[in-house]
Symmetry: C2
């Protein structure tokens, strides 16, 4: 797919989305100290008027801000600055919005951190049901690999099942958040192909065995080795 190079050239035309602009404005209000935690901020109508945009856009912006825990909006009551006395956030709020187009390195690095820990916890806390679930997932992955198919989906499912077996809801949620981005990167550079899937399958089995045997550290290390393998493989195929 030679299209990559050409597209790279135009990559910089970032359309400053209206809602992003609003978010920045609100952030400035907070960081500049004009809005302190607990304060009720102006009504949606006022904000829309001040910013010179429609209310729905203000609405979207507030929704996003609320998701990140920055704001808390109560029906028929108002929207308040909820988070930590967010002078803390300074320039950080905008950054969190860029999560979904993060650099590949950070993404993989973070994935390794989360997954190795998840594997460890999973080994310590897995139930029999977890084992069954993991084996089932691994089986359908093996099926696809034998047929020489893509199987990115089944691959990730196995990893997510491990997160589920870790019994740590936050860990699982965070993995769910970054998973789509990982998939995106993996598909853009076609990671499948030669004998690599076979190796990956074996590594999955190894990890599962350690989890079965409740060997936390070994499972964790196996996971780390596995992910590093995958990373190097994808790196090599990136230039090609």
């Amino acid at each position: 797919m030679g299209k990559g190079k050409i597209l790279e050239t135009f990559k910089e035309i970032v359309i400053e989305s209206p809602v992003d602009r609003i978010i920045k404005q609100i952030r400035d209000l907070i960081t500049s100290g004009q809005l302190n935690p607990g304060d009720r901020l102006p009504s949606e109508r006022k904000l829309a008027d001040v910013f010179g945009v429609g209310r729905s856009q203000v609405r979207d912006a507030l929704a996003k801000l609320e998701f990140y825990g920055i704001l808390k909006t109560m029906p028929q009551s108002g929207t308040v600055v909820a988070g930590i006395g967010i002078t803390a956030l300074e320039g950080l709020i905008t950054d969190v919005l860029k999560l979904h187009d993060s650099d590949f390195a950070s993404l993989v690095e973070t994935r390794v951190v989360l997954e190795t820990q998840a594997a460890w916890f999973a080994a310590e806390r897995r139930t029999e049901e977890d084992i069954e679930s993991l084996e089932k997932a691994l089986e359908s992955y093996a099926e696809k690999v034998k047929q020489g198919q893509q199987a990115v989906e089944e691959d990730l499912l196995f990893h997510l099942k491990i997160a589920e077996a870790s019994k740590n809801t936050v860990l699982k949620s965070l993995m769910l958040i970054i998973t789509p981005d990982i998939v995106k990167d993996f598909i853009s550079l076609d990671v499948c192909g030669d004998d690599r899937p076979q190796r990956a399958l074996e590594e999955h089995h190894e990890i599962l065995n350690f989890i079965k045997e409740r060997k936390g550290q070994e499972a964790s290390e196996a996971m780390r080795a596995h992910l590093i393998e995958v990373l190097e493989y994808s790196m090599n195929n990136k230039k090609a």
Copy 2:
């Protein structure tokens, strides 16, 4: 604040939010295989009609689903199932929505994972600017502590600055996501008070020194020790 006990009793009255209901419906459509990745799903109007709700609610649901990378909606074109062939997600989609009312244990556990790694990276990659920023943050924290004030905010700011110095954008973003929940838990059980803040301040200094000296492992371990201290402290004061 004795209100806690009483409120616990009524905690179960979870109002099944309309948009959550819609999200479940759409999830079922996807997981049941009626909607496959790449498929365009019905227009917002059709969906609103089928579900018997307003279009705006469908809109909110789609927006959330899109944020998680499940869907991709193109202006004037339609909304398609974008993510991984999401049979993977099965029951998981709903879980990610519960991130913000996670259990305290998972939250702290995950925080330890993220922060120890962030400290390690920070020690390896910090610039002189980072050091300045960290010292400044630590200073304002020390100021508050000396005055015997709360300083939760300044505390967290120091930690976030470490995440920033780690040069890993995803790691930073994830910490920003869970930080508000941490603060919430820390404020609900008043964590401040006696000599603990003084100890915490010393530990912060220790961590900063390791980062200055580029000692990754030591910084990481100091961070872990610090967080465990904080955890145990807050646990003890929970019952009291």
